[in-house]
Symmetry: C3
Subunit: 248 residues, 3 copies
């Protein structure tokens, strides 16, 4: 029974703790809470959707993702839950219907979408992660799919393009730049161009000299641009949103 | 059985882990540790006292707060524990008697104050969070209020003003600026002046255009200054300690 | 049953969560995961080895450390596990044989070294922390030292000097600078010179005026250079790698 948290709340602010307190209040004490990521680029549901669609595979069967990148909180966007089957694993995703869950839903072998009809007695205007999404995630993790609280619906309202996103979508603290491109679709001998630089593929960091830039298939199956013992971001001037071109 | 950690130790340093190891050694394995905040402005017990007095309400009945903002560690300041009742919830707060716990104690419907008489066999000079406060918090969370270790006393020695603090007390990673003013005391149509800028109230971020500054009632009941999809801190030049004026 | 995580993965990236998901998948649900540190200076196995050798003492008997600072991942370096006895406590350390575990192993009263012979069905080229080290740490924490998976071997291949390291090895968020020197070997009246500044010893922060630099015996037994209510790093221009001299 694992709940994975995926937000742009920042790992070091006051928000994650409050959400965990809410989760534990509803879920009982045998749940494990795992911080998948709280440093999604702020407000960027599109980059987040592609990152989540790659990252979820590293989490086990039965994981419930509490996924909140929600700049429209308090507006008309709907709260939703999506159940997916991918590679024989069933997982749940709880969050706003703003595109965030649409890439994983579109790519899953099977997906069921539910509108969250339930509302808590006290709902703040700005923190539905704590007041609304956390209780629902806790119920789902407890195995009580609450029929009166979730209404199955045909599909998400906001659907992003679920194809590969040929952009930088996330930069880690080493300065590695993750793209939204699944590596399976890119030939091993492809050269990539990003920010006026061309890079070729290496298997792993230690296969290239220190300071050299390269691309490789990262551990969640995405094309990633890196520098051995250095920062690709600093050295090549990369930022989220930069376009990546595949050269023949 | 939840212990919430509230410190200026930094979320990413070596201190929080050691404190958790101590908590788990004393508390047994069915406790949940939640990081409420480790990025309190360094050494600032006054800002921290006001933030804690607003934040604790998001945590459930029975929560034990291990609250350590303790620049005077190793000096004569006393270690204390405070039991509070607020809105029908009983919570404990363990930390130094330097003002940090005085705002929550003064605002509670009922509060009892205890001096911690117990000392561990090995007490480092600089890390009472790990060696002294953590074991006491663990015992309290286990329900063993240890009578020989805690001596009830009349009141805290260091008492800060428990009224609203019309200052910026915390800046989050989005750049939102939290004040020490409870929103219940501020009229909805009030204009606020901070750092030569005036802002009016909005209900929620998505109610104002992108890039516009406003104030709103945040999810822990404080007046907060924000910019929709932007950083109020950067845009208005705000920092902790800046004074906030309420205009009629 | 505690697993302590010690890496240079960054506390706020996508890596720690994936490693925890793997740990929990293998370890069952009564394990406690504690983040000892994820901000080891990137790729710096030598500084990390000295920090780990001081830090482990703050963790209880039976702790399994999952220690990954592994710039050579995917190269020929071996995965290993080390069991140590220090001060009557038995602990395990799982990680790469690149020097990281060699200082604790050399300083322990007793140490046994094992080569990890087991390989997972799916092993990524770049994330052995998740795919290989985490399952082994989980088994060890569960008390199932798996004889067919670990082969006892004479010693680690890469052995760093296990004596004191007279350098800055870590800088915390306050700006305190930890050295790799055990305080037991430094006289109380010694003056230290670092980056053209000399400092004398104080017992604790509050014993010196605000803004004054000093050295003290920190809570894990290392010599540390600090400024009361200030940043030694900023004020004295300190960085990891700077040499510290002991003056007579």
């Amino acid at each position: 029974m694992m709940i994975a948290l995926f937000t742009d709340f920042g790992a070091d602010d006051i928000y994650v703790g409050q959400m965990k307190a809410a989760l534990l209040s509803y879920a009982g004490c045998d749940v494990h809470l795992v911080d998948a990521l709280h440093n999604v680029p702020d407000y960027d549901a599109r980059a987040a959707a592609h990152l989540l669609a790659a990252l979820h595979g590293a989490y086990p069967d039965g994981t419930v993702f509490l996924a909140v990148v929600d700049p429209g909180v308090g507006s008309a966007r709907e709260p939703v839950a999506v159940m997916t089957q991918v590679d024989g694993k069933t997982q749940w995703f709880v969050g706003p219907d703003n595109g965030l869950l649409s890439v994983i839903a579109a790519r899953a072998s099977r997906a069921k979408t539910f509108r969250i009809a339930w509302r808590p007695a006290a709902l703040s205007a700005s923190f539905h992660g704590r007041d609304l999404f956390a209780p629902v995630a806790a119920w789902l993790a407890s195995g009580e799919a609450p029929a009166d609280k979730l209404e199955e619906t045909g599909a998400l309202r906001v659907q992003l393009d679920a194809g590969d996103l040929a952009e930088i979508i996330y930069v880690d603290h080493y300065g590695n730049a993750l793209t939204g491109m699944r590596a399976a679709a890119v030939a091993d001998d492809a050269r990539l161009r990003v920010a006026q630089t061309e890079v070729t593929r290496a298997r792993v960091f230690s296969d290239v000299p220190e300071g050299q830039a390269f691309w490789y298939v990262n551990s969640i199956g995405l094309v990633e641009i890196a520098v051995n013992r250095g920062s690709a971001t600093a050295q090549l001037g990369l930022r989220p949103g930069h376009v990546v071109e595949v050269l023949a």
